[in-house]
């Protein structure tokens, strides 16, 4: 039990560190990830807490609660990644457009 808790603890810490280092520099994103990290730390260190919260919400088992939360979290991540991808695509499009127009203008104007 102690070993699996240790592994999960390290994995979670690594995931949060990667998120902070590479993904978001927005304060709201960092607060949300930090809050979720704290909840998960509590669930890892004190497993009965998940059961208690699940029971209070009428879900039943703690593992079900974590399963639902994981799905919701994954969907949010997919949505955020989609937006990020669109932003990158938009930047790339603008860049290609600017190059194309500038190049065409230079050719037409003979510069």
């Amino acid at each position: 039990m102690i070993i699996i808790q240790g592994i999960l603890f390290i994995l979670l810490l690594t995931a949060i560190a990667i998120y902070f280092r590479y993904f978001s520099h927005q304060i709201i994103g960092r607060i949300i990830v930090l809050a979720m990290g704290c909840v998960l730390f509590i669930f890892i260190l004190f497993p009965p807490t998940a059961n208690y919260v699940a029971w209070s919400l009428g879900i039943g088992r703690g593992v079900d609660l974590i399963f639902y939360l994981a799905h919701a979290f994954m969907l949010i991540i997919v949505g955020l990644l989609y937006i990020k991808l669109k932003e990158q695509q938009s930047i790339l499009t603008e860049l290609i457009r600017k190059i194309a127009i500038e190049f065409s203008r230079q050719k037409t104007d003979g510069k």
């Binding site: 290609i96 127009i101 190049f103």
Partner: protein, 228 residues
């Protein structure tokens, strides 16, 4: 108005087989023709280089929506008074350009949209599956964009300078057709539909949109609207 101030935007991607045939009548008409080569990998670029047209070349393929926006920005920077969208695959009849221009030249509207359904004879020439799909798209556009038209996915359209300055196509691929209509409604631009004929040649049919791709277009448009 001088015809050289009327800019015809022709987005093209791998249309070497028909591009010169498509462009020649536009050049003969005295219009300023802007060909946006959207990263073609065939002989398209070599063929358009031989013609007296403005050429803009995307270094990679971005999609028809992106090519149209590039063409519009270029045309506006060159002093265009009217901008017309025209397909490169030979589906559009250049004789219809005058019909599209008239309501704008008479300053009755900002945007003239081509419609295949206003003329019953023309409508009958549309393949049945395509016709049903277009009817569904029309219904969808009425629901989502609150703009009532008979043909919502017709790429043959004309914009006054005022309208072209207000419209910004963000959907790179085929969802731009819905996006343009949405922006016309949102920016309260005046518009009218003009009967035009679409020529369903074997070549154009092979290059046209499949039903499965229509579903992709729908998803792209909805995601673009709600997740932008």
């Amino acid at each position: 108005m001088k015809s050289e101030n009327i800019f015809i935007i022709v987005p093209t991607y791998n249309e070497a087989a028909v591009i010169q045939e498509t462009l020649q009548p536009l050049i003969d008409g005295g219009y300023s023709v802007v060909v946006v080569d959207d990263g073609s990998t065939d002989e398209t670029y070599a063929k358009i280089k031989q013609m007296p047209v403005h050429i803009i070349r995307h270094i990679i393929n971005l999609g028809q929506g992106a090519a149209l926006q590039t063409g519009m920005e270029y045309a506006l920077s060159r002093g265009a008074d009217i901008i017309v969208h025209f397909d490169a695959d030979g589906q559009h009849d250049h004789h219809n350009i005058g019909h599209l221009l008239r309501p704008i030249l008479e300053k009755r509207v900002d945007v003239a949209l081509g419609s295949r359904f206003l003329n019953k004879e023309h409508a009958r020439q549309i393949p049945l599956a395509k016709r049903s799909l277009l009817r569904l798209a029309t219904l969808f556009t009425i629901l989502v964009s609150n703009i009532s038209l008979t043909d919502t996915h017709n790429g043959f359209r004309a914009f006054s300078r005022n309208a072209a300055e207000k419209i910004k196509i963000n959907e790179n691929r085929m969802a731009h057709a819905s996006e343009i209509l949405h922006q016309i409604a949102k920016k309260k631009l005046s518009y009218t539909e003009v009967p035009i004929q679409v020529l369903y040649t074997e070549y154009a049919k092979n290059k046209g949109q499949s039903i499965s791709n229509s579903i992709n277009i729908l998803i792209d448009f909805l995601l673009g609207r709600f997740l932008r």
